[in-house]
Symmetry: C2
Subunit: 162 residues, 2 copies
Amino acid sequence: MTGALVRTARPEDAATILRLIRELAEFEELLDQVKAREEDILRDGFGPTPRFECLLAELDGAPVGFALFFHNYSTFEGRAGLYLEDIYVSPAARGSGLGRALMARLARIAVERGCARFDFWVLHWNPARAFYDRLGFAHMEDWLPYRVEGQGLRDLAGEDGG
Amino acid sequence: MTGALVRTARPEDAATILRLIRELAEFEELLDQVKAREEDILRDGFGPTPRFECLLAELDGAPVGFALFFHNYSTFEGRAGLYLEDIYVSPAARGSGLGRALMARLARIAVERGCARFDFWVLHWNPARAFYDRLGFAHMEDWLPYRVEGQGLRDLAGEDGG
């Protein structure tokens, strides 16, 4: 891990974060879905109402990865949890230990803040699943993610008479 | 829907919310996992750092259901989304339209706040999946939920040297 470092992202990292989000989306074959702009990252990560927090992974001073997270809530635990929206280390930096270092830092943040759980969603074909298994994560096989968006969301909203 | 009403929960509803959380957990066969206490609901829903928001469904003035939610974040959209942690209508009140009314209110809140998505997790055997399909939700088949908690979370946190 010589030259490898995990640090909290700062406002001046917004363009770097967006670049890494786009690299991750390309890996996930979802680049066409990325609408985020640098001003969105600045506003939602570093403005008066932060919607997420972000860690950057650096190798010899160059940003090569990131982890973007926020707090969810468990009504069973009666406390907040940590939800990891994105984690990514660029291919050239794999094997540096930075993926594991990002995950360990997130876990420490979760524990320090009293979170009982650390959750995320993984694409079923993502080869990193074996890596997540080794870190101690479990696939929650009983649970299925559901979503409504776009016109479906607007149609459902239109039913509300309140 | 005569006598059926959806409203925003207030601090004095904390005990009712906890009762409904426990009813939902019993339905999910997970009641042994519920550690939340009334003071947790008060602190995290109605304190200085709210971790969730809550709607109550009433039938003829009696609370019979709830929906508890918070904001997540999409790095692809570059904006917050709505995440539904729990939705529940007690068996005696089913067929009243309150489940659909809760979902429509949540969708309207999402649209009014500029959210692009409305997500949740469903237990695979939950018969309400057919209801969610009718409302326009889709099972995100490509995505799998992962979690680390308890000793696994503490072990991972212990690896962080930063």
